[in-house]
């Protein structure tokens, strides 16, 4: 049996064990092989899909190289976001400061690309040497007449969540600077969907079909001008609450725009996200169109879903996500497929998230916060898991253990949101869980023996 660090124990809970006093939102222990990333990572992934802006990484080359086009956030138009721009610090910059370089880089980029805005990401080193990034941004903004937004995303200043907040601060300064003429009463902004594999397009289309106007998609397939007029929308619909709740709060304070928390993953949650919006507007037509849409879409996918469920019934899954919110939907979606979630965790969930997860899950399900590969492999083997849902760092571990894997993170290749997405998800789960390759793998039970 592998030892669990004493200090890690409060961050692990098995449902059924009392009391429930799960610790989370803690700094990772130094020396852990954590699956977590940094503040910069949080800001970068949230803002990156804004396709007509320049995204400039102010710091050493690594921060730019590792975030160059790694997430399939699709754009229907410009693709400036897929380029990697960096001030590429050298020793001189560390000694003398990087402000001049930043200024020159911004001017060059704006002249070449005429972007609608520029985002400047501060990295660790910039925070340490104390470049006044905000002052450089103000100067360039004044000279060039486009918004130039400093994002205070120094890596060491917290977790990925703090990076989301820094990104939202940047977005909040954009919102409110555009004209809101012509925006109707049944209008929303889609917050917290990043258009991975075209998911924002699907969601946007659902809302259009039920008669709801989408003003801005933040940030999937995002455009600067849409975001500038987002304050004209009457409601914010927030998915992935971890990343965007801060912006929703700030828009509520500044513009009195209420918000709803939704999820687009799974039949129940997707339907609810349409109904909730309809109910918010208190409009019978929207609601009845919503019901019609859900009925049609569900009818279209159910026969195949039932078929898939027959094969997957009773199989076991483990889930490890970035934010915990997605995990709720995944537990429900897996239930739709007849699968049981026996392990669920996240990098950055909060106490409320874990309470909800605990209610949602069956007895014996293990909850983990900020876990590591040792713990993950141990629990996966103990629980006899057939499917692991996680991100890039977990995939290889799952395969080594001879377990099916589904990427529900940056590297998803098919849309998993919406009704069609539920079917895609089911197919993907089926494809990996039922794959004949596992027959050629040394038997899991043998491998699990010490």
């Amino acid at each position: 049996m592998l030892p669990i660090l004493a200090a890690r124990k409060p961050q692990i809970h098995e449902k059924g064990a009392e009391p429930f006093a799960m610790a989370c939102e803690k700094q990772s222990l130094a020396g852990s092989v954590s699956q977590r990333a940094c503040v910069f990572c949080g800001s970068r992934v949230v803002l990156y899909p804004i396709a007509d802006a320049v995204h400039l990484v102010h710091g050493p080359i690594g921060c730019a190289a590792y975030t160059w086009d790694i997430r399939g956030a699709l754009s229907s138009g410009p693709e400036l976001h897929r380029m990697s721009f960096c001030t590429d610090f050298d020793e001189k910059d560390v000694i003398y400061g990087g402000e001049k370089k930043l200024y020159r880089a911004l001017v060059e980029l704006i002249e070449r690309y005429r972007p609608k805005a520029a985002f400047v990401y501060s990295t660790c080193i910039v925070g340490i040497i104390g470049d006044d990034v905000a002052a450089v941004c103000r100067r360039v903004q004044a000279e060039r007449g486009i918004p130039v937004l400093p994002i205070h995303s120094e890596g060491f200043k917290g977790t990925k969540k703090d990076g989301y907040r820094a990104a939202c601060d940047g977005l909040a300064t954009l919102v409110g600077s555009g004209l809101t003429e012509g925006i109707g009463p049944h209008s929303i902004n889609i917050l917290g969907d990043f258009n991975l594999a075209g998911e924002t397009w699907m969601i946007r289309d659902y809302y259009r079909r039920i008669g709801v106007e989408v003003v801005a998609t933040i940030t999937g397939d995002g455009r600067v001008d849409d975001i500038r007029r987002a304050h004209g929308a009457k409601l914010n619909v927030v998915q992935c609450s971890g990343s965007m709740i801060h912006l929703a709060n700030s828009m509520q304070e500044s513009y009195g725009i209420p918000f709803l928390r939704v999820s687009y993953f799974g039949i129940e949650d997707m339907a609810k996200s349409l109904y909730d919006v309809a109910e918010h507007f208190g409009d019978e037509t929207i609601l009845s169109r919503g019901r019609e849409l859900v009925r049609d879409e569900v009818a279209a996918i159910m026969p195949e879903l039932r078929e898939i469920r027959r094969s997957l019934e009773g199989r076991r899954a483990a889930i490890y996500t970035g934010g915990a919110f997605k995990a709720f939907s995944l537990v429900r979606s897996l239930r739709t497929l007849g699968m049981k979630t026996v392990l669920v965790g996240s990098q950055t969930g909060n106490r409320e998230d874990y309470e909800l997860l605990r209610e949602l899950c069956d007895e014996g399900t293990i909850l983990v916060d900020d876990t590591n590969p040792l713990e993950l492999s141990r629990f996966i083997q103990e629980k006899g898991v057939d499917l692991f849902i996680g991100g890039v760092k977990e995939r290889a571990t799952a395969y080594k253990l001879g377990i099916g894997f589904c990427d529900h993170n940056h590297e998803r290749k098919e849309a998993l949101a919406g009704f069609q997405g539920m079917l895609n998800f089911a197919r993907e789960v089926y494809r990996t869980v039922m794959s004949p390759v596992w027959r050629f793998v040394p038997r899991k039970s043998e491998a699990a023996r010490p």
Binding site: I4, L5, S28, L29, A30, G31, S32, V33, S34, Q35, R36, A37, C38, V39, C41, P60, I61, G62, C63, A65, Y66, T67, W68, E79, R82, M83, S84, F85, C86, T87, D88, F89, D90, E91, D93, V94, K101, L102, A105, C124, I125, I128, G155, F156, G158, P373, L374, S377, V392, K393, R395, A396, Y399, K400, L401, V441, P442, R443, K444, A447
Partner: protein, 466 residues
């Protein structure tokens, strides 16, 4: 897509890197450390660094990558990272139980001035390092060098920390039998091939770092935190008693070899990476001298088969213009091989700075490609490469995955080689070093060119036999 974002007009850039042809030092140190048996690499910096390196290495190798982090916070950044590293050392030995922790620094810990040896010696004084366990380190600020120099620094650290003068009565009188081989930043399959070649000559070799059986580990149904591969600490200790060091790829390997010479007077032979015919000839010749025996028939036959393939297909290679990017050691040998094949490596770009690169390239090309353009260091990036190509087209691209945008925009075939390869498999298993590796390279080059010919030929000249 980049088509629209890459204007052909060249302009000097001083402040901006666009689409880099390098990444930062720490990932190289992490990769090198994975080539030590039972070693956990440790990133002394923010959590993001470690996460990014692990993700990138996982994407390239499709293997679990284990590494720990000091998880810097705002406090650590003000007061220094000593407390974090001390806690990390305790936690790592308690829970992950490696033989070695290989610490590398980051821009953050370098700039705040953490003194790693001092912190490690404090850890030792406080009993945080169990008997027989080791903590080594190298400095890898992200604003100096590139991933390749970070790799080189960690390889040198292996010598600094582990190589020991032999003890006992006969110590120092006769050199040992073993030969040190430093394979450079190559794939696990390449290291395996280099070991095999040395073995064909009957040479007892100590190969370090050695990522074979670490990053190409078989599927066993088990999650092995430390796979069976990697050079053992005892072997590294014995490098000080070897009779010679052969280092392959000066940028990645020479620093460690020089250190073995400086400290222990182990003679060194510094060679270019054995990629292609003549670079492999030089490696084989070195092995022949060290083995004091003729080239084994098996190796001679491998060379013969390569030559046969080259002669069979040479008409397809004549004057093919090639653009290359990646790391200096690979580029020098590749460019030389292409020139040997009568191809024209016209553009060569690496983001890695360093003094000898241009000279080495010129030596490899020996005046055969006078129109060749090289660029390295600041401003040498994929954007520049794309601009060059827009100004004068090439027929083939050879480099890492980041070339796929150019390949698509310009309709030029791409042969993937180097680091990172994020969108194909094979590179970690099938070597490109040695004669057999050269055959694989040649096969990839020919397939790419001929697939394009098949795709683009009008129907009447679409040929069955090629």
């Amino acid at each position: 897509m980049l088509l629209r974002h890459t204007p052909p007009e060249l302009a000097e850039r001083q402040a901006l890197t666009v689409n880099p042809a390098k990444t930062c030092q720490p990932i190289g140190a992490m990769y090198a450390a994975l080539g030590i048996h039972n070693c956990l690499p440790h990133s002394h910096g923010s959590q993001g660094c470690c996460a990014y390196h692990r993700s990138t290495l996982t994407r390239h190798y499709k293997e679990p990558i284990m590494a720990a982090t000091s998880a810097f916070t705002e406090g650590a950044s003000v007061f220094g990272g000593q407390a974090n590293l001390l806690q990390a050392i305790t936690n790592i030995f308690t829970i992950y139980d490696p033989d070695v922790i290989a610490v590398h620094t980051t821009c953050l810990s370098e700039t705040i001035g953490d003194d790693i040896p001092q912190i490690v010696s404090k850890a030792r004084d406080e009993g945080k390092i169990p008997p027989g366990k080791r903590v080594i380190h190298c400095n890898t600020p992200s604003y100096v060098g590139s991933h390749v120099t970070g790799f080189s620094n960690m390889v040198k650290a292996m010598v600094d920390y582990f190589a020991e003068s032999p003890k006992g009565p006969s110590a120092g009188t006769t050199p040992g039998r073993a030969v040190n081989v430093i394979p450079g930043w190559v794939e696990p399959g390449d290291t395996r091939e280099i070991k095999r070649l040395a073995g064909e000559f009957g040479i007892e070799s100590i190969v370090f770092p050695d990522t074979s059986d670490v990053l190409d580990a078989p599927q066993t149904g088990k999650a092995q935190f430390y796979p069976k591969g990697g050079v053992a600490v005892e072997e590294l200790a014995r490098t000080a008693a070897s009779r010679a060091t052969v280092c392959l790829g000066p940028t990645a390997s020479e620093a460690a070899a020089r250190q073995l010479y400086t400290k222990f007077k182990i003679p060194l032979e510094s060679l270019e990476l054995p990629i292609g015919l003549r670079a492999t000839d030089r490696f084989v010749n070195t092995l022949r001298h060290l083995a004091r025996s003729p080239v084994p028939a098996s190796v001679a036959a491998e060379r013969g088969r390569l030559m046969d393939m080259v002669t069979d297909m040479h008409q397809y290679l004549y004057q093919v213009r090639v653009a290359l990017w990646g790391d200096p050691d690979q580029l020098v040998s590749l460019a030389g091989f292409l020139a040997d094949l009568d191809m024209r490596p016209v553009y060569v770009v690496t983001g890695t700075p360093g003094k000898q690169f241009e000279k080495r390239l010129e030596t490899a090309l020996a005046g055969r490609v006078p129109e060749a353009k090289f660029r390295q260091g600041p401003g040498a990036d994929m954007f520049l490469m794309h601009q060059w190509i827009k100004n004068e087209k090439v027929d083939l691209l050879i480099g890492n995955t980041y070339g796929k945008y150019i390949a698509r925009d310009e309709g030029v075939p791409l042969v993937r080689h180097g680091f990172p390869i994020l969108d194909r498999v094979g590179h970690s298993y099938f070597p490109t070093v040695g004669y057999r590796g050269a055959m694989r390279l040649l096969e990839m080059i020919l397939s790419a060119l001929m697939d394009k010919k098949d795709r683009d030929s009008p129907e009447e000249s679409f040929e069955l036999v090629m």
